[in-house]
């Protein structure tokens, strides 16, 4: 790929009020591009794989920052950086699952700039797509990652529909496990969407990974008190500890009473286009203790129904082993 040092000429808007940002987003629609930390943005534009006419830099909007306590849990502004999320005392104390997930994103510098909103709405990392090829996700009619000689070690083992890219987000699975609510604002008002239905797979929308429509901005994430101080387990398996995206990640929250698991919420990242909730495992471990025997009971259950591509069959045992680690940790 040609190495471009600079981005092409664009307009830049730096609104300081959310209303101004919403008006701009509505007016510019698909010609505009919302920028939080920008860590997913600039690569696209430098590579000329995406060509927005204007950037809407949201960083000046103070109301989108910070972590607040609410009646039922906490609310995290979408522009809160991943470093803040990883080090915030409230998040660390009550929802350490999320702070752990935020602390393993990319590199320190990227976490200093990258925001939780951006981490959730970032585009997929399939390199064929990011190279600017005319694949399904880019509006074309073929998938370069699902051919006999394609390099698809990182791709999906579930729910592929033409596109086989996976969700790259580390905070996404953690927020689905914590049953978070996404606050989406537009010029027409605000809607609140459960984290699980915030992400959409290619069978529903092949060009977008979330339910966000043109003119809408993800303004905050609400985490209910339900899973506060539960037992958590998070692990991200990647080729490198820094920068890399997960090969498979797992985020789990468990409520244990009288030695048995009464409720659980377990989610895998990087196995399909959306965070995958392991409902069959959750049901099977209910009422069981968190131990080796329970792990044996549900062995292989997480990966049931997986259909691997040529090079990602290893994700099946990896996923099952992560469930075992979660139950025996």
């Amino acid at each position: 790929m040609a190495g471009y040092d600079n981005m092409p000429d664009m307009e830049l808007y730096q609104p300081v009020q959310i209303d101004d940002a919403l008006a701009l987003a509505a007016r510019l629609a698909e010609r505009g591009w919302l920028v939080g930390g920008g860590q997913d943005t600039y690569g696209w534009i430098k590579d000329r794989a995406k060509r927005p006419e204007a950037l809407i830099d949201l960083n000046g909007i103070e109301s989108l920052r910070g972590i607040r306590e609410t009646e039922d849990g906490i609310e995290i502004g979408a522009l809160t950086t991943l470093t803040e999320l990883a080090t915030n005392p409230i998040v660390n104390e009550r929802y350490s699952l999320l702070s752990k997930a935020a602390s393993v994103v990319a590199s320190p510098q990227i976490r200093n700039a990258g925001t939780v909103g951006g981490n959730l709405v970032q585009d997929v990392r399939c390199w064929y797509y990011r190279r600017g090829l005319d694949c399904y996700r880019a509006g074309g009619n073929l998938c370069y990652a699902d051919t006999p000689e394609a390099q698809n070690r990182e791709h999906a083992i579930f729910e592929a529909s033409r596109c086989v890219a996976v969700t790259p987000s580390d905070t996404g699975p953690a927020l689905v496990a914590l049953e978070a609510q996404m606050v989406i604002t537009s010029a027409n008002g605000t809607r609140v969407v459960p984290a699980e239905s915030f992400f959409v797979g290619p069978e529903i929308n092949i060009v977008k990974t979330t339910v966000l429509r043109e003119g809408e901005i993800l303004t905050a994430v609400r985490i209910p008190a339900k899973w506060a101080n539960a037992e958590f387990y998070h692990e991200k398996v990647a080729d490198r500890n820094v920068w890399d995206f997960a090969l498979v990640s797992i985020a789990g929250a468990l409520r244990i009473e009288g030695g048995n698991i009464v409720e659980s919420s377990i989610v895998c990242g990087a196995v399909q286009c959306t965070p995958r909730r392991l409902t069959s495992v959750e049901r099977a471990i209910q009422g069981q203790p968190r131990n080796e025997a329970t792990a044996t009971l549900v062995a292989g259950m997480a990966s049931q129904g997986a259909s691997p591509l040529n090079q990602n069959g290893f994700k099946i045992p990896l996923m099952d082993n992560l469930v075992t680690k979660l139950l025996t940790a």
């Binding site: 981005m7 830049l12 920008g38 860590q39 600039y42 320190p108 510098q109 920068w243």
Partner: protein
């Protein structure tokens, strides 16, 4: 003392004259164009290494570009230009950022520090710089300015880090010579934990 014409000085003077030309041309172009209502002003004040600099900045310009090609601060290196190597690391309000992945317009009211700003008025090197020299930390040296900035930011918040904390703090800076342990030795020396 007459300043010798070194290779570095020569390159810098070429950059400066180029910057002067392009700034003039850019200024002419913007005044000729009609700027979209509400879009950013190109002429901005930046706070770089404690000095206020007036610069003509394109809307899409990255901080690494401004530093190197408009201000002649070539200590900040551009390696990958994609936020994947760390050689362009600078601090913005004492927090490390990749200058290649930062819009210059987003740092208008913030204090930017590059490797050039660490030296004291009298030329004394920063403790991290001195320690990196004492420990022979760099091999080829290309990633060194970034490693220094990450180490400086770490010591500001954590003056006596453990080796593991230092490893974490420098984990966003690649060194293709593989001199990682030498850099960590440097951080330990700079924090007075290695004599």
């Amino acid at each position: 003392m007459t300043p010798r014409l070194t290779r570095r000085r020569f390159i810098k003077s070429v950059i400066f004259s180029g910057a002067a030309l392009s700034t003039g041309a850019g200024f002419y172009l913007t005044s000729a164009q009609t700027r979209q209502a509400g879009a950013v002003e190109r002429l901005v004040s930046l706070n770089i290494n404690g000095r206020t600099r007036r610069v003509d900045v394109m809307p899409q310009e990255t901080l690494a570009y401004t530093l190197r090609y408009k201000l002649g601060l070539t200590g900040t290196k551009i390696g990958c230009n994609r936020g994947e190597c760390g050689s362009c690391t600078v601090t913005i309000s004492d927090v490390t950022h990749y200058a290649c992945s930062t819009l210059t317009h987003s740092v208008k009211d913030k204090a930017v520090m590059t490797v050039e700003g660490l030296r004291a008025e009298d030329g004394t090197l920063h403790a991290v710089q001195a320690a990196f020299i004492a420990e022979l930390s760099p091999q080829c040296g290309f990633c060194t300015p970034g490693q220094i900035m990450s180490a400086v930011a770490l010591l500001k918040t954590n003056p006596r880090p453990t080796r593991d904390e230092a490893r974490q703090a420098l984990s966003g800076n690649l060194c293709r010579c593989g001199a990682y342990d030498h850099y960590l030795n440097g951080v330990m020396r700079a924090s007075g934990q290695l004599s």
